[in-house]
Symmetry: C2
Subunit: 219 residues, 2 copies
DNA sequence: GTCTATAGGCTGATAGAC
DNA sequence: GTCTATCAGCCTATAGAC
C-alpha cells in the first residue's frame, strides 16, 4: 500500500518543501508573527485548507522552521571547528556564531529568542537525530575547545568546562540578542563587543591563584 | 478652562492609573500578546471604547508599561549602589539586575526582549526625564563602579569603561534572557552562571600585560 | 463619560463539492 | 488534491445614542 503511492509521496514531499521554504521566507522577513496560513497559502498559489494536508497546523510549521534554523547555525559555525589552535578555534566558533545571528536576525530571533513552545525539544539531552541535535553538537564544539585548553594548561585543571561553555555561549548571546532588539543600546559595534567579551572571558580563565568556574561545579 | 476641570482631571488620572495597573498585570501574567483592549476593558468593568479616552491605543499603553518597567529595574538595583567597595558594588549591581529579571520574567521580557517598537526611545541619550532615563542611570552606576576600579588601579588605566559596562550588561543579560526562554538549556542554575560570568569577566579585567577593552576603544 | 453597536480587519481550522 | 465556503473566534478602533 505504501509502495503504491511512492510517486505521489514524492510529489507530496515536494509541495511540503515548498510550503516550508515559503513559510521560512515569511518568518525571516516579518518575524514569526507574520506567518499566517492564509497568506502562506496565497503565496504558493493554493487554498488555505491545503496546508493542513501537509502540516497539522501553524505550530508544526514553526517547529520545523526552528529545526532548520538550528541546523543552519551548526553549519555556520562548523568550519571554525577546523582551526587547530584551541584559542583561535574558540574565538572563531563564537565569532561565527555571532555573525550568524547578525546575518540572519529573524532566524536567530525565532530560534533563540522566541517562546520555547516551538523549540524546547531542541535542548533536551535525549535529542539524537541529525537536525535536532544541532544545538548539542554546537555546544560540544565549545566544550571540546575548552577541554583542550585545560589539557595544555591554559585554563585551570579544576575548571568546569561545561559551565564555562554555557557562560561563553550566554555571553555572546547576550551581545547579539541585545543588539538585535536595541540596535542603539550597546552603542559599540557588535564585533567589538563580541571581541571584548571573548577576550575578557578567556583572559579571566587563564590559570591564576583561583580556579575560575570551579565554584559549585558539581551540580 | 483647564482650571475648571481640575477635579475631573483628577478622576481621569485615577481611572487612567487603574487601566495601566490592570494592563500591567495582564502583561506580567500572559505576556505582551495577552494584552487586549477588550479584555482589559472587561476587567476594569468598562466598555472597550472608553479605553481610548485615556490612551491613543494599545501601543501607547504598552509603551507606558515599558517606562514603568525600566523605572522598576532601576529601583531594584539602586540599593546595590550604596556598597562602598567598587568590586562588591559591581557584583551587587549585576546580581540584583539578574534577580530582577528572574523575579519578574514577563516584565523583563517586555522591557528587554521585545520588539523595539515600544521602547526605542528609552535608550536614546537625549532621554532626560525621571523614568525615561532609568536605563541610562542604571548604566551610569556600572560605569561609575568601573571608573573607580580604574582609579584604584584594579583595571587598566587605558580601559574603556563604557565599553566594558556594555559587555558586563550584555553578559548578564545573555544569561538571564537565555534562561527565561529556555529554562533547560544552560543546565546550570542562573545564580551560578551569573556569578561565574561576573567573576570571570572581572578576573579578565585585572591589570595584565595587555589592556582589556582597549581595543578599538575610540569609536 | 459611558454605553452599545458596529465597521472592517485579521486569524486558524474544517466540511463538503468537484 | 484542490477548491470554495464557512465556522467561530479574535482584534483595534470608531460612531453615535444616552
Amino acid at each position: 500500500m505504501k509502495k503504491m503511492i511512492a510517486r505521489k509521496e514524492g510529489e507530496k514531499a515536494k509541495l511540503k518543501a515548498k510550503i516550508l521554504e515559503t513559510a521560512r521566507e515569511m518568518v525571516i522577513r516579518e518575524g514569526f508573527d507574520g506567518l499566517s496560513i492564509r497568506r502562506l497559502a496565497e503565496k504558493i498559489g493554493y487554498a488555505p485548507g491545503n496546508i493542513y494536508l501537509y502540516f497539522a497546523g501553524r505550530d508544526e510549521i514553526a517547529r520545523e522552521i526552528c529545526r532548520q534554523s538550528y541546523a543552519e547555525m551548526l553549519l555556520a559555525i562548523e568550519p571554525a571547528a577546523k582551526v587547530k589552535d584551541p584559542v583561535g578555534r574558540l574565538k572563531a566558533l563564537l565569532k561565527s556564531y555571532a555573525d550568524f545571528a547578525e546575518g540572519r536576525p529573524e532566524t536567530y530571533k525565532l530560534a533563540f529568542m522566541q517562546d520555547p513552545k516551538f523549540n524546547e525539544v531542541m535542548f533536551r539531552q535525549t535529542a539524537i537525530d541529525e537536525e535536532t541535535g544541532a544545538v548539542q553538537k554546537a555546544f560540544r564544539l565549545i566544550v571540546d575547545a575548552l577541554d583542550e585548553l585545560k589539557q595544555v594548561g591554559k585554563i585551570d585543571k579544576r575548571a568546569n568546562t561545561n559551565l564555562l561553555a554555557e557562560v561563553l555561549w550566554a555571553g555572546v548571546h547576550g551581545v547579539v540578542s541585545l543588539k538585535l532588539i536595541y540596535p542603539a543600546f550597546p552603542a559599540t559595534p557588535t564585533s567589538t563587543l563580541v571581541g571584548t567579551m571573548i577576550r575578557t572571558l578567556l583572559n579571566g580563565l587563564r590559570v591564576e591563584r583561583r580556579a575560575p568556574g570551579s565554584g559549585r561545579s558539581d551540580r
